[in-house]
Amino acid sequence: MTGESWSSTRLPRIAVLGSGHVGPVIARVALEAGYQVAIAASGDPEKIALITQVLAPGAEPRWAADAVKEADIVVLAIPLHRFAGFDPALVAGKLVVDTMNYWPPIDGVQEMFEDRRYGCSEIVSQRLVRSTVVKTFNHLGYHELEDERRPMGSPERRALGVASDDPVGVDVVAGVIERIGYDTVRLDSLIAGRLLEPGGPVFGVSLSRPEFELAMRVEAA
């Protein structure tokens, strides 16, 4: 999307798992920001070839295992009710971006996510023990993801929260998001990331970085 030049160090490669409402949009904005992107659904890449070609031209449709193998960052854009059947070994050792939300009226009641002591991404992280989980994108409507991008420095630039227990993970993912076209507000734990969930102060709201930070402080107070 932007006039930014390629950085000298190689950009991380991205695998998007999920080719529904959300996956192809994330793939498209990542491609436009200069990333190499593979996309996978639950089965044969042939099934998503046309979707990829039209909605995210330039992304490579692959089997999930192949897409993940060569990726530095794996974006999980699958419905939460499919997560119980998701194999943690697939993303072992990877940096995983969790875009998922738990809304019982939409997903139905999911036993795994009913333990209210934990946020949704904490439960994801407990299951993906060998991966680094970063929570972001979940609080932005997929239909806004493309249109709301703004170049760095634009007064209209919107902020996204990026939360993880792993500071390096936060940095890497925040770097991607800033390049795609958003400011970031970094949160130093998945516990803090609960503020990004549905019903929270920033969910579905378009906020600049200062507004975002203020909303979080007010809520935390």
């Binding site: 080719s19 529904g20 409402h21 192809p24 042939e46 099934k47 046309l50 979707i51 070609q53 039209v54 909605l55 419905p79 009710h81 939300n101 809304w103 009226p105 939409i106 997903d107 139905g108 999911q110 409507g141 997929y142 239909h143 806004e144 493309e146 249109d147 549905p198 019903g199 969910f203 579905g204 709201v205 378009s206």
Partner: protein, 360 residues
């Protein structure tokens, strides 16, 4: 999905662009309020919808659609009964669901209800099938929300088989199998038009093309332009599956009144109220005056304004999305019957002719 089933509904063959411009109205049975802003009863709201459908016919609207809903402010679970009543009082307007939540219904019953409507109305029935963006019907009828993909896939397939006419053989996980089953009533003049409503799922676009349904894009928020790749995806998928060309339609919410100002004033508080309630369960952001102004403007999804404003926007987006049909979802819970009737009259007598003029 490598081999395509033969097409469920024969489309008039030929190039896209050959499809006539169709302008319709949709309602979800939005609860009306009386002149003192007190809620009408569910029964009165349903009788009001009948009058709205009859008026739509009289002012020349092409299609009247009723969407299935099961809530206090949208008391409309049996659209086909209401459509049957409207059919008995009209002769011209096409009548259909907008949408039928197929995932939580029985395709055989849906087919029977709408082929009965087709009989009553002399061949004016249509269906728009949806996976269900409003999900109240799932718990109500004992379906698991987590199963919606399988339910919709299987039931769409069965519905496509039923539409072909003739005995049906089908087997799946979500319903008892059918073996060479004759399903009545037979339609008189071939299959009635069937659409799949899509709110942003590319798989649903592919599915519509695969089974030979037409595509109805449900655009209820954000810039309509983001849907233009979906028209393209649909056309390419039809080609890939060896299906005939089929029309693309757009369904969006709005409200028409004499002036832009009046339309916004009437619509805004009701819209705010409904989204505020939805936001509790669905996590939507609560709209602000600013976000509303954006949705009503040229890059938003709401068609709220004077006949000229709404016509301009419809014409622009039909062109942008390469679509030949537009269904305005008029009304909002809390608006009066009077405001809805005015909306319908303006749509038929002023918006529609103007759109025809603009689209040429």
């Amino acid at each position: 999905m490598t081999t395509a089933p033969s097409s469920a509904v024969p489309a008039s063959a030929g190039e896209p662009g050959q499809f006539p411009l169709v302008l319709g109205l949709d309602t979800f049975g939005d609860l009306t309020h009386d002149d003192d802003d007190r809620a009408d009863t569910h029964a009165q709201t349903i009788r009001n919808v009948v009058e709205q459908g009859v008026l739509a016919d009289h002012v020349g609207v092409d299609f009247f659609g009723i969407g299935e809903h099961h809530t206090d402010d949208f008391p409309m679970p049996a659209a086909d009964v209401v459509l049957g009543t409207i059919a008995g009082r009209t002769t011209r307007i096409r009548l259909g669901s907008a949408v039928t939540v197929l995932s939580s219904d029985d395709p055989v019953r849906v087919f029977q209800r709408y082929s009965t409507l087709d009989a009553i109305s002399g061949g004016r029935a249509e269906v728009i099938l949806g996976r269900g963006s409003s999900t109240e019907s799932f718990p109500l009828f004992g379906y698991g929300l987590a199963d919606y993909e399988d339910l919709f896939e299987e039931k769409t397939h069965l519905f496509a088989e039923l539409l072909k006419g003739g005995p049906v053989t089908w087997e799946g996980k979500t319903r008892a199998p059918l073996h060479n089953q004759d399903v009545v009533p037979h339609t008189e003049s071939g299959p009635f038009p069937a659409w799949i409503g899509v709110g942003g799922s590319p798989q649903s676009v592919i599915r519509a093309a695969h089974y030979g349904f037409s595509l109805m894009l449900a655009i209820i928020g954000g810039p309509p332009a983001r849907f233009s790749p979906f028209s393209q995806l649909f056309r390419q998928a039809l080609e890939k599956f060896g299906q005939d060309p089929r029309p693309v339609g757009v369904h969006s919410p709005g409200h028409v009144a004499a002036t832009d100002e009046q339309a916004r004033e009437e619509f805004w508080p009701r819209y705010l109220e409904v989204i505020r309630r939805f936001s509790k369960t669905r996590g939507f952001a609560i709209p602000t005056k600013e976000s509303f102004a954006h949705e009503v403007g040229p890059h938003g999804a709401l068609y709220v304004g004077s006949p000229e404003t709404v016509a301009q926007k419809i014409a622009a987006n039909l062109t942008l999305l390469d679509a030949t049909r537009f269904d305005l979802k008029y009304g909002m819970p809390g608006l009066s019957q009077q405001a809805l009737m005015t909306n319908i009259e303006l749509y038929g007598t002023q918006v529609m002719p103007r759109v025809h003029e603009l689209v040429g």
